[in-house]
């Protein structure tokens, strides 16, 4: 770009302004990105969409999840997810919109995949990304079971977690695209 300047100035001074501008614009767009291999991507890509894309191998049920919850979650989210000092995870199903609206995983969250994704990336608060895939499936199952959404023995894995029908799945209206 710098080396173009004298030429640009010469062209402008000789009155060929239009040509000079198109000459500048011809500079190729920069390409400084480095290619990434699929293997490299796998470690970085921790997000899970509502279809379950990105869920890791592994499984767990509420039976397995109770111990995980008690060890890793209960000190903040209370016994059986009732909350306090941190947000409640359980209860309030059917309350949304009433005077006693209580937003919890069970009453408000539209996708079970979000529970897995958020727990993996952000919890426990002092040790995010520390839970194994089996622990994550199990503790997710435990919270869903406490909310009466799945059976205690039901195993959750990459195939079954996205199939869980959350009570408030139809409780959202998309404002995008507008109009």
């Amino acid at each position: 770009m710098h080396s173009c300047k004298p030429k640009w100035q010469r062209l402008v001074s000789s009155g060929v302004a239009a040509l000079s501008i198109s000459g500048l614009a011809l500079a190729a767009p920069p390409q400084f990105g480095q290619p990434v291999s699929g293997q490299e991507l796998a470690a970085w890509d921790i997000s899970i969409g509502p279809s379950g894309e990105g869920l890791p191998p592994g499984s767990g049920s509420a039976v397995d999840g109770e111990a995980v919850y008690q060890a890793k979650c209960q000190s903040c989210h209370g016994e059986e997810g009732v909350g306090k000092p941190a947000d409640p995870l359980v209860g309030g199903v059917g309350s949304i919109g009433s005077e006693a609206t209580l937003k919890t995983v069970g009453s408000f969250w539209p996708y079970a995949t979000t529970l897995f994704d958020y727990t993996r990336r952000a919890m426990p608060y002092d040790q995010p990304q520390s839970l194994s895939a089996n622990e994550l499936y199990a503790v997710s199952a435990y919270i869903l079971w406490l909310n009466g959404i799945i059976d205690r023995e039901q195993k959750l894995d990459a195939a079954t977690l996205p199939q869980v029908q959350m009570p408030n799945r139809d409780g959202f209206i998309s404002a995008w695209p507008p109009g």
Binding site: P29, P30, Q31, F32, G33, Q34, P35, V36, E40, L41, W44, D45, I46, S47, I48, G49, P50, S51, C76, P85, A86, I96, G97, S98, E99, T101, K103, V105, F108, W109, P110, Y111, T113, T114, D117, Y118, R121, A122, Y125, P128, Q129, G171, F172, I173, S174, A175, W176, P177
Partner: protein, 431 residues
């Protein structure tokens, strides 16, 4: 306002220092009569030149240079107000709020820009930080910070406002807090960096790609889905804020800036962009940052911040010093475009007067308005009402509330009413 306060403070000092000085009221009348022609200091000199002495600062050398300047020690009280809803349990979750009542103009000093963190401010070594772009693209790419620094840059002045800003005013009863503690989750900076469009085009977007997921490198892995239209429109990967590298609490070394859209989507410490066919339905676009309606349905993906304004001077915490001249001043903004008009009422909404807008009025940026006002000393209510270039008008609180479920606090953009007592005290009121 500031001028008036300075004058009255000086007047008090003069009264104390010189018994023969004119009474305060007389002095103020005199100074207002001269306002516009001379400065407050000029008035003072005329009124009581005999009282002044050469200040010590003129008779001793000042301190030498500093490699990075700091505010005056006597301004130490101008600080962000911090709220940590989980206390010691999660000290890095919460907000700090811009002290709007203490600031002037439209640019927020970088050290006073509001903060919203979900698990603290990460320490990131820019030499180790990379941005990954992948998903529905022809070429997944990684970018070092050194590589990002080589791209052509875009720069714009725009506000960032948390979608939960002004949540205290969504409560059933008015909270008695400063303008900054109520509305200080909005700030305005010049953001400079790489247009996101350039990098997405380099990676080559698959026709099936309609959204991006933007993810931060913080301990909450804060992530939001953004429609591709916005990413290709005016999204900037900011490297600089107000001319210097981003502050750590504003996303150093890389932040996604989406002008006019809710603050939560302006992902800080940006590490990854994944092009997807559908929104990812992250925690912060489902369980949070969705707007509950009266029927219990939640409106999702309400990105644009509504047209809004408030009077910052005078505001709660200002003690008015009797009837007379005051400048009313405040801020207006809209995520839909630029501010076209701000009206001020000094009689509780019965009459509205158009305020002067401080130019240049910029798209999706804070806009300062001013109105000279002669207070008659009676109790009244001060309000401001903003309009934007897209025909939107700021609503009354009484009209905003019924649009949502009573518990909703997001996207509060209603008119702020300051109740002024005859004693010159200001409180927060709901209208």
């Amino acid at each position: 306002m500031t001028t008036k306060l300075v004058r009255s403070r000086l007047a008090r000092e003069i009264e104390q220092a010189t018994p023969a000085a004119p009474q305060r009221r007389t002095f103020l009348k005199h100074s207002v009569a001269l306002a516009g022609a001379v400065t407050g200091a000029g008035v003072l000199t005329r009124a009581s030149a005999a009282a002044l002495e050469v200040p010590a600062s003129m008779t001793t050398p000042g301190r030498p240079f500093s490699s990075y300047g700091q505010p005056a020690a006597t301004e130490a009280a101008v600080q962000r107000g911090i709220l940590q809803p989980y206390g010691e349990l999660a000290p890095g979750a919460g907000v700090s709020m811009t002290p709007l009542q203490d600031l002037e103009g439209v640019i927020t000093p970088s050290g006073l820009h509001f903060e919203r963190h979900h698990n603290g401010v990460p320490e990131i070594d820019p030499a180790m930080h990379e941005l990954l772009i992948h998903g529905l693209v022809a070429r997944p790419l990684r970018f070092s910070m050194a590589a990002l620094a080589r791209y052509p840059r875009a720069s714009r002045i725009c506000f960032i406002e948390c979608a939960g800003n002004s949540f205290f005013n969504a409560f059933p009863e008015p909270q008695q807090m400063s303008a900054g503690m109520i509305h200080g989750l909005v700030s305005c900076s010049e953001w400079t960096g790489v247009p996101l469009k350039l990098l997405l085009e380099e990676a080559g977007i698959d026709p099936a790609g309609k959204w991006i997921l933007a993810e931060g490198a913080d301990a909450a892995g804060m992530s939001r889905s953004v429609p591709l239209e916005k990413a290709l429109d005016d999204a900037i990967l900011a490297l600089f804020q107000n001319g210097e590298r981003l502050r750590p609490e504003q996303g150093y070394p890389l932040r996604l800036v989406l002008p006019g859209w809710e603050g939560n989507m302006n992902v800080k410490w940006l590490r990854r962009i994944k092009v997807t066919a559908e929104p990812t339905q992250t925690k912060d676009e489902t369980s949070k940052y969705t707007d509950l309606l009266p029927d219990g349905k939640a409106r999702q993906f309400t990105y644009e911040m509504g047209v809004k304004s408030l009077i910052t001077q005078p505001s709660l915490g200002t003690q008015l010093d009797g009837a007379g001249f005051y400048e009313i001043s405040g801020l207006a903004w809209s995520g839909a475009g630029s501010i076209s008009r701000v009206e001020v009422s000094t009689d509780g909404g019965a009459n509205w007067v158009e305020a002067e807008l401080q130019g240049p009025v910029m798209d999706k940026a804070l806009t300062r308005f001013r109105l000279p006002w002669d207070w008659d000393g009676q109790a009244t209510q001060l309000m401001s009402r903003a309009y934007d270039s897209e025909g939107n008008q700021q609503p009354l609180r009484a009209d905003w509330k019924p649009q949502y479920h009573g518990s909703n606090i997001y996207h509060y953009n209603a008119i702020q009413t300051w109740q002024l007592s005859a004693a010159g005290e200001i409180s927060n009121a709901f209208v």
